[in-house]
Amino acid sequence: MSEWSGDDGKWLDAHYDPVAGLRTFTSCMALADLSGDGDGRLVVADLGGGASAASMKLKVYGGTALSSESVLLDLPCGLVAFFMDLHEPRIPAVAVASGPCVYVYKNLRPYFKFTLPGLDVNTLEQDVWQEARDGHIDPPAIKEMLESLRKKADIPLSVRSLHFLSLDDEHLEDFVQLHKQQPIKRQTVITCMGTLKKSTADEDGVSCLVIGTESAHLYVLDPEAFVILAKVALPAPPTMLDVTGQFDVEFRITAACRNGNIYILRRDLDKPKYCVELSSHPVGLVRVGKNMVVGTTDQNLQGFTQKGKKLWKVVLPAPICTMASMDLPARGFHGVLVGLANCEVHLYKDKNLVSTIKTPDAVTAICFGRYGREDGTLITTLKGGGLVVKILKRTVEFQDRDSTPGPPAAQSIRLNVPKKTKLYVDQTLRERENGTAMHRAFQMDLIRLRLAAAKAYAKALESSLTPVSSGSGRSLKMNAVVQGLGPSFKLTLNIQNTAACRPILNLAVSFLYDQSLYRMRNPFLKIPLLVPGLVYPVQTLVECTSDKGISDIIKVFVLHEEQSTPLLTAHINMPVSEGIN
């Protein structure tokens, strides 16, 4: 039983039927206690295999077996279980939406059929058919007139006229004969359905049905008389609904529409209160607490507040097939189940992935709730018609943290930033207003500072006859003094070991100079051991061999015997020789 389940150890594999033959969607599946004994059942509106009506069924599962099935008359598009009255025992009714009708089942027997009111018919179109009935115009003329109506009329044509326009010429006559006696009607179809508690928030409180239609309307139906309590127009046909609150008190309907927007309506109906424009079309809409989570075709999962403000976004590894909410009130857990095309179901708590469930095939529908006597049951149907039932382990704790690696939690902790003072606000205001001037002033000061520094440096270079240099690697300091008027000069290098206690050994001094100008008695000097702190004068005689009154630089290098790079260098600007050779 376990070879098909690659879970993270949080779920028990209760049941798997690969050949259950269920073809359905999340909107056509519900869990309900249909016998009123605390034993949860699964109710499924099965779309069936082919187009034939006979295979569309209302199926009820209990435990591991199919406990009942009955034929559905039309292709279902939504199924809800709801309490329509206050009778005891508290057994919910089942409503199945198909075409323009809602079929209500009580105790799994057909109980009531509600049909949406017809839409306004184009009066010009009506006139055309009136003429046809009276025999004033022939089929080609009808066709021509309807064609022109279709192009410019603001009220769309009825299904009959559209059908007529699609016929070949030889069938037109028969069609007109067959249909001309009936008045034309325009009927919309249901696209989605939800429930809304009437006046109490109780688990088993009486609920209204909320219906979305292809004509871009929302209807709220009274559960007892099935009259329309409210009707709202939306900018586009809704495809998914989420409803909370109570009709008599305060409620909120969130509708994902076919134009890629999500509209949020409040009790003061009339028109949508908020609108969320998505970057791509929504495929799933789930409420978690006060927020809503939306899955879109571009593999994103996004969280929004109930006012439509975006909270977060997660990119998913595969396209989303379907979404459902996972509520475990006993444990205070609210999450979102996302069925992905890569045969996985991900469980998100806010934006954190807290569990990954592998399924044998891509999922088509997900449902979570009380099944049998187990509150934490996850039911999924698969693309191939399979049915999978998993039970959440009693001991599982979902971490708030994400189970995928990512930025640490500390990153999202808000810093306790102190309040802005008046002074701060004034300063920022000033900065905002005088930005350019302040920048210019700063640049000017900076350039002045640089100029002053450069001037001082140049002056120091020019005036200084005793360049000082000190290396970083070893604590050595040296200065040079040139004495004499020339042509003989005495060059004294004062070398000091500035280290606290370490003597320096094996040092030497060498010189680099223009040999056509100067001659040096000793161009290579060995330096004795340098005791820290003492100044060692090293002297040598330099003779200027030129009488042209020019001078040059002599470079001094202090070297260590084992290193090729000098420890210290100094450039000595020699004075002009004033003596005579």
């Binding site: 028990l12 209760a14 049941h15 435990g63 006993a330 049998g372 187990e374 934490g376 039970i391 009693r394």
Partner: protein, 195 residues
């Protein structure tokens, strides 16, 4: 019969045994315990147990104190507090609830791996209850699904029961009488003799 049993029999004492009755909610624990009680003490209406209830009753050679634990998910974490004092376990399974067989197995595994149970050679009696229900699994199938063959270090026994009629219960209790752990027999001397 052991020497102690005979002694106890002569002196009019009965050996006392603490039995834990465990199993998922709705498996029939309370119904079973009710059936084991003398007929005049039996309750008529059984309501779901909240928390737990303690029942005492005697058979020919044993005096049982049974802790009837609630099987509802939110009370199952109470079970382990009674493992220390338990000298035998009755584990009841609803053989008609195929869906939750995995849950029963999960709870059984948790029980067997608990430190207070793991190293004790306490006997476990499995009752595959509700065998009268039409689609119920056989006791063999139940023991297969629960992997009972893997229990090597404890005496265990499974029997199919129908708690409503009382079928199979006698067999189970007789097995339990022959099998209370030896350790507790000596413990009971201290407990019982002063009375």
């Amino acid at each position: 019969m052991g020497l102690f049993d005979k002694l106890a029999g002569w002196l009019g004492f009965k050996k006392e045994v603490n039995v834990l009755c465990l199993g998922l909610d709705n498996s029939g624990k309370t119904t079973i315990i009710n059936k084991l009680k003398p007929s005049h003490a039996q309750a008529q209406d059984i309501v779901p147990t909240i928390g737990f209830s303690i029942e005492k009753f005697k058979t020919s050679s044993l005096s049982f104190t049974v802790f009837d634990m609630s099987g509802q998910g939110r009370y199952r974490n109470l079970w382990e507090h009674y493992y220390k004092s338990g000298q035998a376990v009755i584990f009841v399974i609803d053989s008609a609830d195929k869906l939750r067989m995995v849950v029963a197995k999960e709870e059984l595994d948790t029980l067997l791996n608990h430190p207070d149970i793991k190293h004790k050679r306490i006997p476990i009696l499995f009752l595959a209850n509700k065998m009268d229900v039409r689609d119920a699994l056989s006791s063999v199938k139940v023991s297969q699904l629960l992997c009972l063959d893997n229990i090597k270090d404890k005496p265990w026994h499974i029997c199919a029961t129908d708690a409503l009629k009382g079928d199979g219960l006698q067999e189970g209790v007789e097995w339990l009488q022959g099998n209370p752990s030896r350790v507790c027999a000596s413990m009971c001397v201290c407990v019982c003799l002063p009375n």
